[in-house]
């Protein structure tokens, strides 16, 4: 069932905040089954680009197509169905603090109005099982959970409707190394079991090296490079040199690649 139409298509994106230009002419295609990482310095507009793909923000110019439909001028019904086909893991989890773990995951399923409560119960337990959260936590409120647990529950909620596209905003930020390693493993397993396309914003080289099939580098207000990690590090650009081939970068990448 793999076809070559892009799942997400960005065309000629321009973003301005007042007179401050963030993005200039961004073009990017994301295909089915890949894990694309967006990297870039602080303030380079990675998160803004992600929010534009989710149509939470509208760029000054350009278009975003998700699953073949333009999101900025389509009707609400279509946008809603497109949104049901994508899941988002926000940086802080964004769990609803008024609802417990169970209801947080059940909420998007209940909103569909086509599942019975028994099916929802099975599905919630299945999702929680997938992200390795034990059943004893289902009645807890988000305020009672640790950071790692919040991320896991938030991931379970992002996967609630079996999405085709998954957006991850800094999936391992704020997790300690063992936790972030297990989180990476979790995402790898999920990708094997479900047909997922993942778009991820990250600062963490470990996450990036372990997960991504392609990397897009945002610098100087545009995408300076898109491609596999091995090809990216050969490109001569000050940001790429600093980010991937600094001391820390070398240490991480030495394990996965042969460095220039």
């Amino acid at each position: 069932m793999i076809n070559n139409d892009p799942i997400i298509e960005l065309q000629g994106l321009y973003t301005r905040f007042g007179s401050h230009v963030i993005h200039k002419n961004i073009n990017l295609n994301i295909y089915q089954g890949e894990i694309l990482s967006l990297v870039g310095g602080s303030g380079s507009g990675k998160t803004t680009l992600l929010r534009q793909m989710l149509s939470l923000e509208i760029p000054a110019q350009g278009s975003v197509k998700i699953l073949g439909h333009s999101t900025y001028d389509c009707d609400l019904e279509l946008l809603r169905s497109l949104r049901n086909r994508s899941g988002v893991l926000f940086q802080q989890g964004a769990l609803f603090s008024a609802l417990n773990v169970y209801d947080n995951i059940a909420l998007p399923m209940r909103e569909l109005h086509c599942l019975t409560e028994e099916m929802i119960r099975d599905l919630v337990m299945l999702k929680l099982d997938m992200v390795e959260v034990e059943a004893q936590h289902v009645n807890k409120m988000p305020a009672e959970l640790s950071g790692g647990m919040i991320k896991r529950v938030a991931l379970a909620r992002a996967l609630a409707l079996d999405p085709e596209v998954l957006f991850l905003d800094e999936p391992t930020a704020g997790l300690d190394p063992p936790l972030s390693e297990s989180f990476i493993k979790l995402i790898q397993t999920l990708r094997k079991e479900l047909t997922l396309t993942i778009i991820m914003v990250t600062h963490d080289l470990d996450t990036l090296a372990a997960l991504s099939t392609r990397v897009a580098v945002l610098a100087d207000q545009s995408l300076v490079a898109v491609g596999e990690l091995a090809d990216i590090i050969k490109i001569d650009h000050p940001f790429i040199k600093e980010f991937f081939l600094g001391e820390r970068g070398r240490n991480v990448l030495r394990n996965v690649l042969t460095l220039p």
């Binding site: 086509c114 119960r121 337990m125 099982d129 009645n139 305020a143 409707l161 079996d162």
Partner: protein, 381 residues
Amino acid sequence: MLPSNHIDDTSPWYQITVEQNISCIKLTGSYTLAALDQQLQKVGAKLTHFATQSDLHWDLTSIQQMDHAGAVLIWRAWKMHRPANLLIRPEHERLFTHLEKARPAPKPVRRDILWPILTLGRRFFLFWDHLTGIITLLGQVLLNVLYLVKHPNQIPLREISANLFRTGAQALSITALVGFLIGIVLSYLSSEQLHSYGADMFIINILGMSIVRELGPMLAAILVAGRSGSSMTAQLGVMRVTEELDALTVMGIPHSLRLVLPKIIGLGIAMPLVVLWTSAIALLGGILAADLQIGLNYKYALSNLPDAVPVANLWIGMGKGVVCGMAIALIACHFGLRIKPNTESLGEGTTNSVVTSITAVILIDAIFAVIFSNVGLKIRS
């Protein structure tokens, strides 16, 4: 198609074939949430119906795509165990292995039979907790005042003036509007009544006494409690959520000195001034309405006002302003500092703060009424 095969039942989701006395159900199409959508219940009911035939062979190899929702649908149709004869692709097999392992959801915690008593007890302890909390905060602020008397160069003047501006100057327009309208309403209603008794000139007494002594301070206090009290609570609450309060603590700056004290002093200064302003505008509105309604000359009204309202009432009104202002700020800060870092607590804290401070304002008014029952009232014998 061979003659021995005959198609029993078809649908986009399944095909039933009978071959050599073996009936077989072949599931087809995409068993995904997006594809099933509104058909889900119907398909589920059909499959459940077929699953009751124990000798039915299930063929799941023709399913194009299956996700968790599809798997759960089929699993529930099977009543949580696999049928005896099953053909399945390995990638779908994994989904069912997950389902077999999945634990049942724990039951939500039942309510205790004693819950009314428990709730009442909890409420009482919560009330007690708030009361001691407010008294502790007040004590801390008083200690800070003593400290500042000894170290006058550390008085947070900038914060006090900022609070004065925010709670006083920026509240002038709304209190003026409400005061003016209440003045008009009061005058409009009572002047007609008085006119029918020929007691027109007593409108000045009624307006003067009620507005200067009661309505002005109460209107101002309730408006300020809703406007500034809620914003103070929310501000402190957001500072808790963003860990700014903790940042202050680790810098060794006490919350009570930098955040609470300037608010209490600021509102303590601003409130009597807002009271004065509200009373003046309300009187203006009242006199204007009386002029239009019963032709009472405004010059006559203004010159008779000091006679009708002893000046003590003005001081009582402003005194209420000082006490109410400080109480509102204290209560707002108390609830603000108790907010926990989540959104629900923020909303709840702000609501509690406003409700409590309005109740406190009315209580303070009642206490003033009892204490000063012999002051400023001209009772003609």
